[in-house]
């Protein structure tokens, strides 16, 4: 088995078990235009464990069986209008029942202002209430995506991660094989470094992996014999980015004459990371081979395949066609130009 695959098997993925409401609020307040309505820091220490949200229509109507109270509760127009039209005594009853649960926090959408009674109960029970001008479906989508990301599987992987022509190339290989030097060379040619040496990889939705650097190290890089350099301060903003989808894994390895490297590119190898299958390219290196240019070609070829043109398949199909024609006596090995005219172009 390939070494990287062995490493991947031995690494346990990391998943957050919970986040605090405080963390959620600080991350969400500007992005999703949240304003806190409850007093002070009341209830901000509450814990969110579930990546789903809940709209508590039925719970407000009195049915609390299967009420997933431990999720973020989102009250939109329906819930608020329902509460408003209830007779006062019924409303009190409904709210009291609702607030008797240990709810992490409540978000009101469409700028639906809560009644005084609502806020009073929330303050008494230490349950934070937030309000946003966003509409419910949009807000629910944002929050779902945010929570999905917070609770996603993560691993730390060693390698250099570069955006080459918009394709996220992850270079792996034994330490000292020259990953950082290739990354530097690519940056020099106008591509953008995401992270060097240590890349935090997270699963984002099904089939998508995202990579970033670590908070501390960001775009620092070690070059053997030089020490630590900062790519951002040396090359400027054009040379970096903070996150990128991981699209191709390029494995740098010493040329091994016993190993079979792909010669056509038809036999695509893949590697599974956090349950996502990615193209896996074994790139043999030896002196005089320009890995940077080859990396650019890897990216461009990936794009070309993405847009529907697979060169290996195209040539293979042409060959099939030619053999078919030949059997009808039409084609022979020969020049691609029938008649060489005088301009010798």
């Amino acid at each position: 088995m390939h070494k990287l695959k062995k490493i991947l098997k031995s690494i346990k993925e990391v998943k957050k078990e919970s986040i605090t409401v405080d963390f959620f609020y600080n991350a969400a307040k500007e992005r999703f235009k949240l304003t806190k309505l409850t007093e002070g820091n009341n209830g901000l220490e509450r814990i969110i464990r579930d990546k789903h949200i809940h709209r508590p229509g039925l719970a407000l109507a009195g049915y609390t069986g299967l009420f997933t109270y431990d999720r973020i509760q989102i009250l939109g127009n329906t819930e608020m209008r329902y509460l408003r039209q209830l007779p006062a005594s019924k409303r009190t009853q409904s709210l009291k029942k609702f607030f008797s649960f240990e709810i992490p926090c409540i978000c009101l959408t469409f700028n639906n202002k809560p009644s005084e009674e609502f806020l009073e109960l929330a303050n008494k029970r230490n349950i934070p209430v937030f309000i946003t001008p966003l509409e419910t479906t949009k807000f629910a989508y944002f929050i779902n995506d945010f929570l999905d990301d917070q609770f996603s599987a993560q691993i730390a992987l060693h390698g250099s991660f570069v955006d080459v022509y918009g394709v996220g190339l992850f270079f792996h290989g034994r330490s000292g094989i020259g990953k950082s030097e290739i990354a530097l060379d690519l940056v020099e040619r106008g591509h953008r470094l995401v992270a060097d040496d240590l890349v935090m990889v997270s699963k984002k939705a099904d089939g998508i992996l995202m990579g970033t650097g670590t908070d501390l190290v960001k775009h620092f890089m070690e070059i053997r014999g030089l020490g630590i350099i900062d790519v951002r301060s040396v090359f400027g903003i054009r040379a970096i980015r903070f996150q990128k989808r991981v699209e191709v894994i390029v494995n740098l390895e010493e040329w091994d004459s016993r190993r079979h490297y792909t010669r056509t590119g038809l036999d695509n190898e893949t590697i599974e990371i956090l349950g996502v299958e990615l193209p896996f390219i074994r790139l043999p290196i030896f002196p005089g081979k320009n890995i940077t240019v080859i990396s650019e070609i890897i990216a461009l070829n990936y794009l070309s395949k993405h847009y529907g043109f697979d060169p290996a398949k195209a040539l293979s199909d042409k060959l099939d066609q030619a053999i078919k024609n030949k059997s009808k006596g039409k084609l022979q090995v020969g020049r691609s130009v029938d008649y060489l005219e005088h301009d010798f172009e």
Partner: protein
């Protein structure tokens, strides 16, 4: 494979000097050397990796050694941790 839990005992934590010393020691050996903190496993032979742990005094790390000379690698590196990197 050898696995061992260690604690950072010096005041300054694993700052640049001990980090660079650690990767130098690890590089002498053939065995793979990994450090696990907060569930994330990093390569102990990479200076960027070790520094990004930002391991402070009191933090607990798991060390993993795997390879032909894992025993001698483990004993030298564990000793380095137990001595608080030679710092107070």
């Amino acid at each position: 494979m050898i696995e061992k839990k260690v604690r950072i005992i010096n005041k300054a934590g694993m700052h640049t000097r001990p980090a660079s010393q650690l990767v130098k020691i690890a590089a002498k050996y053939k065995a793979d050397f990994y450090i696990i903190k907060d569930g994330f496993q990093i390569n102990g032979k990479s200076i960027i990796g070790v520094m990004s742990l930002a391991a402070e005094e009191g933090s607990e790390l798991t060390l993993k050694f795997d390879g032909p000379d894992e025993k001698s690698a483990a004993s030298e590196i564990i000793k380095f941790f137990e001595e608080g990197f030679g710092e107070p």
